[in-house]
Amino acid sequence: MLAYVIRRLVLAVSVAITVMALAFILTRLSGDLALSIAGPSASAQDVELVRKAYGLDQPLLVQFFKWLRNAAVGDFGESYFFKDKVASLIRGRMPVTLTLAMVGLGLALTIALPLGILAAVREGTWVDRCVTGIAIVGQAIPSFWFGLILMIVLGLMLGWLPISGTGTWQHYVMPGTVLAFTAVPALLRLTRSGMIEAMSSDYIRTARAKGLSRTAIILKHALRNAAIPVVSIAAVQLGFMLGGSIVIETVFALHGIGFLAWESIGKNDFPVVQAIVLILSLTYIVLTLLADLLNAVLDPRLRAT
């Protein structure tokens, strides 16, 4: 177990460093940063001043390690546009995104788990076919468009929910639903196939031979084993949701880090973009790491190795 944890940690750290390098390279793709920071009206002298001020005259590798060292202590530099510390900008926006992602994941699991179990238990019937249909349809709906449709129907026609912005919990219902729908198909399919596999296994036959109730067989014996892959996918999906929040936050004008990223990209504000890419990647790495460890806890066979 300990060896496994260590191996997994080493992998996570090396992936993190690689991703940081990629995030760094990404922002240098746009050509001469000094030129774009100084703006189109700046003279050659101004550009040189900016280059010096931001350390852009140093070799790339030096710049990278400097950025890495600062990032390690949570210092992502200063935003060009917002004239504020990137770290504090992100800290201010983070709660919105986290709330949105948690609402999304919660809704996704509430929809996907029961439906997946139901489909598996009624495998091959019309119930199963309807549930599988939901997964197929959900997978094909463009999330931003789904968001707009909800705005028209729930916001304008029915007037049930506020159309955009933050403030009350109602503001999170529509965006959360849309975000949930991006994760439902994968979770649903995995729950269904996992449950079908578990239900046809020998230990379920044993459980039936023991005279256990159907509820106990499905919820205790089958679900416990089917849940193991679902847990890791749920963590992965949470990572994807944070990444996908840029679309949903933009559609619903929720001022989270996704919206911040969108604004910053438009303004060529690369320290912010770089920091958000990095934070989302690291979150994903940490989430998959946690999922693997949680798997080891859930699956006694893994725990032993």
Binding site: L11, E123, W145, I152, L156, L190, G243
Partner: protein, 294 residues
């Protein structure tokens, strides 16, 4: 948007799906994709209007099923008076182009990595797995947006970015299937016959792993089409005035509360095309699964 990376794996346990339902799905999917391809190829020849001509006197003309429609504009016009049907057809061409070319480029990268990792194993395989892990931890939409935003939007750049970002599933599947066949007799036979390494990989391994990769190709094409629409919707994809379905939705967004059809027409088209591609992929998977059992 990037929620589909587990579907190939998840689908493995679904062999017992009702065969008939999935065959019907495959037929419907093939029909949808066929119809869109047909419209995209031949539509421009049949259309009398082009998608760029503006007519500010005929802005937001409703489509044929609504009141106040205009016979010349079957699906109405957009906020600049451009013919919506023409824009829809040209937008469909962009979507198909994105889907096809992304699959080609990301397939090339992913399959190469996957075959190398699966065939050689050991260090090479570790490196490939590491690359896949790194790729998965990069948020696709954000990075694609950032690249396009920082460099400037163009169709080529969108294509290149998506190609570089969507190869992971190709690599995973190619690696797994290559591992399954690398120790089979015919590979050993080819080796003994003195086949060169490129010959071995391209002529013996590749043809035998193509069928599962076909399923991945449909999923990736669908994903690429959705991503392009998303980027264009956020204003960082295909640059205007090129018609893209995502861009049409973005442009119609300001008018959607009064004329919902401006976002319904491109949105439903996008949904139906992606649904068709996915159904086709499910059909292929089911068909392959049936083959494997036999």
């Amino acid at each position: 948007m990037s929620d589909t990376s587990v579907i190939v794996l998840a689908g493995a346990g679904e062999r017992r799906d009702d065969r008939r339902a999935s065959r019907l799905g495959a037929v419907v999917g093939a029909a949808i994709v066929g119809a869109v391809v047909f419209a995209a190829l031949l539509g421009p020849l049949l259309l009398t209007l082009d998608p760029f001509t503006q007519d500010l006197n005929a802005r937001l003309t409703p489509p044929f099923w609504m009141e106040g429609t205009n016979r010349n504009h079957l699906l109405g016009t957009d906020q600049l008076g451009r013919d919506y049907l023409a824009r829809l057809v040209y937008g469909g061409r962009i979507s198909l182009l994105i889907g096809a070319l992304t699959v080609l480029s990301s397939g090339l990268i992913g399959i190469t990595l996957g075959i190398l990792g699966g065939f050689f194993g050991g260090r090479v395989d570790d490196a490939v797995l590491f690359a896949v892990t790194c790729r998965l931890s990069i948020p696709v939409v954000l990075v694609a947006l950032a690249v396009v935003g920082l460099i400037g939007s163009s169709l080529t750049l969108v294509l290149a970015t998506l190609g570089l970002l969507l190869w992971d599933r190709f690599a995973v599947v190619a690696r797994a299937t290559t591992m399954q066949i690398r120790n089979l007799d015919y590979i050993a036979a080819a080796r003994c016959a003195g086949a060169s390494l490129p010959h071995l990989l391209l002529r013996e391994v590749l043809p035998n792993i193509l069928s599962p990769l076909a399923v991945v190709a449909t999923l990736e094409a669908a994903l690429a089409i959705l991503l392009e629409a998303t980027l264009s919707f956020l204003g960082l994809g295909v640059p205007p005035p090129l018609p893209s379905w995502g861009l049409m939705i973005a442009e119609g967004k300001d008018y959607m509360f009064f004329s919902p059809w401006v976002i319904m027409i491109p949105g439903v088209s996008l949904f139906v095309l992606v649904l068709g591609i996915n159904l086709l992929g499910d059909g292929i998977r089911e068909w392959l699964g049936a083959e494997k059992i036999r």
